[in-house]
Subunit: 125 residues, 3 copies
């Protein structure tokens, strides 16, 4: 099994709704997004997936969230902006063009700090 | 599948027993403990598990080992203090309150340095 | 399930062949190689595998690629020097002496930078 990984970063504000103590105040993070593709076979050129192409897709999502308050971003309307929810959103946005290309799975990890992340991993089949 | 991750750090001395060369001398590490929970479903509030609660449990264990000689810590008596054994101990201490809460698996990674870790991963079911 | 991990580093040049834009020019990376062993059981001494021994094997491979142009390294002749291909080469070189020692799987991750890696993971059984 092979994997390729790319990472990108964005700075955003957010606040949680619910029983989350100080995290219910508007605050922010230097978010780090890590994206991993898994699959069984390399192309004739020796890659699982073109990392340059993947990186460009990941950078586009990071740019769309950069220097924003996640609680005001229209695509996250009605969503509690937990790291899990942000990972979910990025996963759903990345997955469609990756399907049908011989890949098995996609993981998106969203780091709020070097001490905390949430991730979503699911099949692309 | 979702994951949440938290990390903590502690400074401790130890020495190995057996055929481990210089590691049989008392030495020490800036240990980094990484803890990962896995599960299939988010709560209504959009979390797999409250990261604040998890972090507090992980910090408690780190604090109990901080600035100690692991070979003198009573809960590790009779244990060869390999990174595997420390991961085992932390796993067993963290797991009980996590069972029965809809989580699938718990991983504990114990880094002795940025170049070396040992981990234990097992089901919480 | 247990894991042990070691990391090493090497500085090398390379260039890709194919539709990879600027990556087809000779350039270089501070490569980081991460190696992970997985298995179910610890030895009587409390280790999955002697990390010192693993580290020595990994450092040997890193040293053999250090300060080289990967496109001129004889063992990579005819190979497009993608991170996937370098991971493949390191995997095949590390695996033989690890078989038959009660280990389940070997992963080799080859980082070209802190933003990009490729990995190969396969069974040792």
């Amino acid at each position: 099994m092979y994997e390729v990984y790319v990472a990108a970063q964005f700075e955003a504000a957010h606040r949680l709704v619910g029983d989350f103590g100080p995290a219910t105040r508007t605050h922010g993070h230097t978010y780090r997004m890590e994206v991993i593709l898994r699959g069984e076979r390399l192309s004739d050129e020796g890659v699982l997936y073109d990392v340059g192409e993947l990186r460009s897709a990941v950078e586009d999502i990071a740019a769309s969230l950069h220097y924003r308050d996640l609680n005001d971003v229209p695509v996250l309307a009605g969503v509690n902006t937990t790291a899990e929810a942000v990972a979910d959103y990025c996963w759903e946005r990345l997955a469609p063009p990756l399907r049908g290309r011989g890949l098995d799975a996609l993981t998106v990890r969203v780091w709020e700090s070097p001490q905390v992340y949430a991730a979503r991993e699911d099949s692309l089949a």
